[in-house]
Structure formats: C-alpha cells, structure tokens
C-alpha cells in the first residue's frame, strides 16, 4: 500500500511538473504570439515598420529598457519591487555626465564602469534599507526615488549652476558610442545582448541564481534549507543599481544630454515591460526570455504609435490597456492550469 502510495506521488509530481513546464513554455509562447500578431498588424498599417532602419531604431530604443528590466525582474522574483530605477538612472547619468563634461579624455567604456559604480552605491543603499533597516521594498524605494531625484538636482546645481549637460559639453567619442557599431551590431544592442547572456547563465545555472527563485517562491522554506536570505534579498537591488547605473550612462550617450528630469516615469515603463513579460508580481517566477519579449513589445508599441500616426497621446492609454490585458489573460491561464492540476489529482 505504502509503496503504491509512493508511486502514485511520484507520477503525480512528475505529471504536474511536466505540465508546469509546458505551462511555462506556453506562457512565453503566448507573449511571443502576441508580439507576432502586433508586428503583423502594424506592418500592414505601415510598410516602413519592417524595414531594417526601423528595426534598428526599435533596438536602440529598447536596449536600455531591456537592460534595466533584468534587474527589476530579479527584484520582483524575490517578492520586492524597485520604483527608484527611473530616478536612479537619472542620478547616475547626471553624475557621470558632469564628470565627462570636465574630462573629455575619459573613454566610453570607463564612463560605463563609472556609471555601474555609482549605480552600485545607489542600489546597495536600497538593499541595505530593505535588508538591514527592515523597510518594506515599496516604501524604501519610494523614499529613495524622491531622494535620488533631489540629489540629482542638488549635484547639478552645485557643480554646473543648474545648467543641464547637453551635446556640446560631451566628447564626440562618447556621443558616438551608442550609435557606433561592432560587427555591424550597434554597441547599445550588443551590451544588452551580453547582459542577457550573463544573467541567463546567472539565473539558470548558478547556485546563487537558483536561490533567488527559491527565496521568492517560499522564503520560509528557503530559510529552512539554509539559504542566506539577507544576502539573496540584497543582491537583486545591488544588480538593479548596477544596471540602472549603466543604463544612465547609455541614456546620456543615446540622447546626448543629461537633464535633472531624465528618466522620470521610467520606473513605470520598466515595471510594465516586466509584467507584460509574464513575471508574477507575487514573486517566485519569471524568465529572461519573458522580459526580453516584454521589453520588445513595449519598444514596438512606442515605435508603432509614431509610425501609424496615431496621436502620441494614445501611448499611455495603450500601455495601461496592455498591462491590464496581460494580467487578466495571465490570470485566466493560471486558473485553467490550476483547475487541470486539481482534476489530475482526483484520478
């Protein structure tokens, strides 16, 4: 009897896990199909959409979003949220741009490293508040969101007397960096690809990466099996900081300006991309492919709004509508899956 029971359990978990795997695959498939439909509809309306130049533009515009979405996803997987990414991006971009304006000899790669360093400081500040200060993530980053924006303003005022850093303050090599290519791929896109490969490996094939999922899906069990919860909760904020620091510098290079309001509202775009990419806000699940697709969908919509000559004022409404759609469809799917799982258990 006991043996039978055991067997039964084995097959049961086997079935459910394979089903869940199918579901996970289906989930990204669903997002992908949505993207394809979107692309078909848009390209019927506007033949320019599928030209090489336009796809190139979409890539350039999506790269920074996609880079920061990786960090945000890790934070959300651990059941947190980081709403300071927009102002963090603005602050690190401003700091580096002010340094660059005085030092034209600094090569772009060093500027990016500086951005990562600044972002790492900001990100660990968030992480420390949350881990050591025991402040709920949404509150801590709500606070630092204001603080970062304020500091951006103060630094800009102290160093440059309130003058924004614009194109003529920056060296040509730095301005050209975002657009120039390596093996015919623009640097910006190349960096995004490298980041995705690194974090794909990190999240799926390293112990620390798997622990991030473990902590997110069940903090109690993670603690019981000896995972250092504090460390695993801290890391995603640090990484997010490094990524928005890098994003800030790339932003300055891409738009050849650093303003005190750069990145305003960007946190909502990032969270939208992550949610559309199928990351559960309750934590524990989410994949690199998902958020890549999510970011591309946002980029395509942004681009299409201009191409189809829909008034740009529709953009926000469409964003909102798409998140609603994504969340509701996701809920419907997971309900059906749960139902199917329950039915299997009955037999």
């Amino acid at each position: 009897m006991a043996k039978k029971d055991n067997n039964f359990k084995k097959t049961d978990t086997g079935n459910s896990s394979s089903l869940m795997l199918k579901f996970a695959g289906f989930r990204e498939m669903g997002i992908f199909v949505f993207l394809i439909i979107l692309v078909i509809v848009i390209s019927i309306r506007s033949p320019v959409f599928l030209t090489f130049e336009n796809i190139y533009d979409i890539g350039l515009d999506t790269a920074i979003l996609a880079i920061i979405a990786v960090g945000e996803m890790m934070v959300i997987i651990t059941r947190g949220i980081d709403i300071s990414v927009g102002t963090g991006l603005g602050l690190s971009g401003m700091v580096v741009a002010l340094i660059l304006a005085e030092n034209w000899w600094i090569p772009p790669w060093l500027a990016i490293l500086m951005g990562i360093a600044v972002g790492a400081i900001l990100g660990s500040f968030n992480g420390l508040l949350i881990v050591k200060g025991k402040i709920p993530p949404i509150i801590a980053t709500l606070g630092t969101m204001s603080v970062f924006r304020g500091i951006t303003f103060i630094i800009n005022f102290q160093v440059a007397g309130g003058q924004w850093v614009s194109a003529h303050n920056l060296s040509d090599s730095f301005k050209a960096f975002a657009r120039s290519t390596f093996l015919k791929i623009p640097n910006l896109i190349l960096i995004a690809i490298i980041i995705y490969i690194i974090f794909y490996y990190f999240l799926n094939h390293t112990v620390t990466g798997r622990q991030i999922y473990a902590v997110g899906s069940s903090p109690e069990s993670a603690k019981v099996i000896g995972i250092n919860i504090d460390k695993i909760t801290f890391l995603p904020y640090l990484f997010t900081g490094m990524l928005f620091g890098m994003g800030g510098v790339l932003w300055v290079s891409r738009y050849t300006a650093a303003q005190t309001d750069s990145g305003t509202g960007f946190e909502f775009t990032v969270i939208t991309a992550v949610v559309v990419g199928g990351v559960a806000i309750a934590g524990g699940s989410g994949s690199i492919f998902g958020i890549l697709l999510g970011s591309i969908i946002i980029g395509v919509i942004n681009n299409a709004v201009h191409l189809i000559r829909v008034s740009p004022f529709w953009k926000l409404a469409i964003y909102g509508f798409i998140i609603l759609l994504a969340v509701i469809v996701d809920k419907a799917i997971s309900r059906r899956i749960n139902k199917a799982l329950l039915e299997r258990r009955k037999i």
């Binding site: 949220i81 508040l129 200060g133 025991k134 402040i135 709920p136 949404i138 509150i139 801590a140 709500l142 606070g143 630092t144 969101m145 204001s146 603080v147 924006r149 304020g150 500091i151 951006t152 303003f153 103060i154 005190t260 909502f268 969270i271 939208t272 949610v275 806000i281 309750a282 008034s311 004022f313 529709w314 953009k315 926000l316 409404a317 469409i318 964003y319 909102g320 509508f321 998140i323 609603l324 969340v327 509701i328 809920k331």
Partner: protein, 331 residues
C-alpha cells in the same frame, strides 16, 4: 506594544513615546519651534490659512488611501483619476455644458474610474498594485487623448470658489473646511465603527476575515470606488484653485499621497495604522513645505526632505522597537 503596556507599568511612558503619532507630533513640534524662531512672518495667520491650500487636495485623497492601505492594498491610480476627472470636467465645460453639470460629470468619471478598479480587483482577485499600475497609465492616457496638448481655462467665478474661496470674510479657506469635515468623518468611521474594525481585520488576515463573514469584496469595491470619487473631487478642487487644467495636472501626486499615509504610521503590509497619524503627517509635510518655502528652498530639495523623512522615521521606529523588545527579553 500593548503587551508591554500591560506587563510592565514602568515601560508605559516609553511605549507612549514609541507610539507613532506621538513621535510624529514631537517631530512636528520641534520642527515648528525651530522654524518659528528662524522665520519672520511664519506665524502670520493669513499665511498659515493660505498654506492649507497646498494640502487639501492631497489630504482628502490620503484619508481614503489610508483605509485602502490598512486593508493591505494600494491605489496607484489616484493622481491619474484626478487628472482624468479634471480633464473630463474641462472638456465638457468647453463643449458648452453648464459648469455645475460639468462638475458632476467630473465626479461621476472619477467615481466610475474607481469603481472599475474595484471591479477588476475584486472580481478577478488580482493584486491591486498591478491593476492600479495599469489604470495609472490608462486613465492618464485617456486624459491625454481627450485634451492633447491643450489647456482649458476661463471657468466661471462661482466655480473658482470651490478651490480658492474663503468662508465669509474670515481667512478660513472653503476647501479646508471640507477637508476637516471629511477628516473627522474618516476618523470616526475607522476608529468607532464596525466597518472600521472590518477594514483592520481584512488587513491583518484576509482569509480569517473572510471566514468570519466579513464581506471582503464588497468592502474593497466600496473603498476603491470611494477613492475614485475622492480623487475626482480633489481633481475638481485643484482645477478650481489653479483656474485651468492640462492632461498632466496632478502628475506624481500618488507618490506624495502614499508617502503621507506611510509617514502617518500606516503599515504598507496592512492591518496597522491610525487616522490621527495620517492627519498629523498631512499637517507635518505641509508645514515643512510652507516653512522651507520661506527660505527659498526649491521643490526638488523638498523631495530629498520628504523622502529622507519617510525613510529615517521608519528606520528610527524599527530601531526603537528592536531596542525595547531586546530590553524586555533581557528581563
């Protein structure tokens, strides 16, 4: 905290000072003493009353937001609803509708926006934070679709009374009276009625609340609808006060409103909070803005002050709590 109160009387003084509202009140008093001695005209009665104009809109929404956060939810779309209802009002006024009918349209749009939030959240049992994040863009987006880059102004004199009028010849602003009335009602409802207890129960343990027969979905729906209504009303007040409207009116208010509520001692995880705390927090933040305004401190530095206050007050409170519980454990 209550347990400490009962077990050791010697601790009661300390735990009194550990109560959030008292801590806030102390910050408020200390800040005001400093600023009174360093700032001439700070105590001018007309100035003080005029200062209240800057917080009534946010304060009104914050009162309802406190209920929502106590149930463990959050409404990120409030500022967008303010914008949408303001724009709806202005657009219908521009189309020739009577100003008071337009006012009602604004309120109606706000209320239905809140109702839609509530319906999606309760019918599909989806997290409020995601749904209101979506409607945050959606409602603001519709406001942009309606007005585009336009601004509407030139409302009638009578309408401007709502946002900038005074009671008779006194220096007391009309919106302040509205705010005080609603604040008193909220305090009574949260702390003196069964409904208030239910709100706490939902926040503390939703499943247990459901099991004990509390109509969770109805209460949530009601709160989100109320939040929409109040945001619509706040939208009317701000439109009337400024005298014109654009689709980007009240942008970013949601974060300030949530900051006010959290600073007021309401736990974002739900179940804990006090309307008095929220009230003191509203007054504290506005006196800080008012006082620093005298010293020509720009708005962006206020951001650092508000954000820093939010973080440091929670840190201090957490620190004090662990300190006290360690002391208790040692005994």
């Amino acid at each position: 905290m209550e347990m400490i109160d009962k077990s050791k009387k010697t601790f009661s003084v300390k735990s009194f000072f550990l109560r959030w509202e008292v801590l806030l009140l102390l910050i408020f008093i200390v800040y005001n003493i400093i600023i009174i001695f360093t700032t001439p005209y700070y105590l001018d009665i007309n100035n003080i009353f005029d200062m209240t104009f800057i917080f009534t809109e946010k304060g009104l929404v914050a009162l309802i937001m406190a209920f929502i956060i106590i149930t463990g939810n959050v409404d990120l779309s409030v500022a967008s609803i303010m914008g949408l209802s303001s724009v709806a009002m202005a657009a219908s006024y521009q189309a020739g509708v009577n100003i008071w009918a337009a006012f009602l349209i604004g309120l109606l749009i706000g209320t239905s926006a809140g109702f839609l939030n509530g319906m999606i959240i309760t019918r599909l049992s989806l997290p409020a934070i995601i749904i209101t994040l979506a409607t945050y863009s959606f409602y603001r987006g519709i406001a942009y679709v309606i007005l585009g880059n336009e601004a509407v102004s030139g409302f009638t004199k009578k309408f401007s009374y709502i946002g900038q009028g005074y009671i008779g010849n006194s220096p007391v602003p009309f919106p302040l009276i509205i705010f005080l009335i609603i604040a008193v009602i909220s305090i009574i409802i949260l702390h003196r009625t069964t409904f208030g207890r239910m709100v706490y129960a939902i926040g503390l343990n939703e499943k247990a609340a459901f099991a004990s027969g509390i109509p969770i979905k109805k209460i949530k729906l009601l709160l989100f609808t109320l939040s929409g209504f109040m945001s619509g009303f706040a939208g009317m007040i701000i439109t009337s006060r400024i005298g014109n409207t654009r689709p980007n009116i009240a942008t970013g208010f949601e974060l300030e409103i949530i900051t006010i509520v959290i600073l007021g001692g309401v736990m974002i995880t739900g179940g804990v909070g006090n309307m008095w705390g929220v009230f003191i927090s509203i007054v504290l933040i506005s006196t800080i803005r008012y006082g620093l305004g005298f010293h020509n401190v720009p708005g962006q530095i206020m951001l650092v002050v508000t954000g820093g206050l939010l973080i440091s007050s929670i840190l201090i409170n957490n620190f004090l709590k662990t300190f006290v519980s360690n002391r208790v454990l040692k005994r």
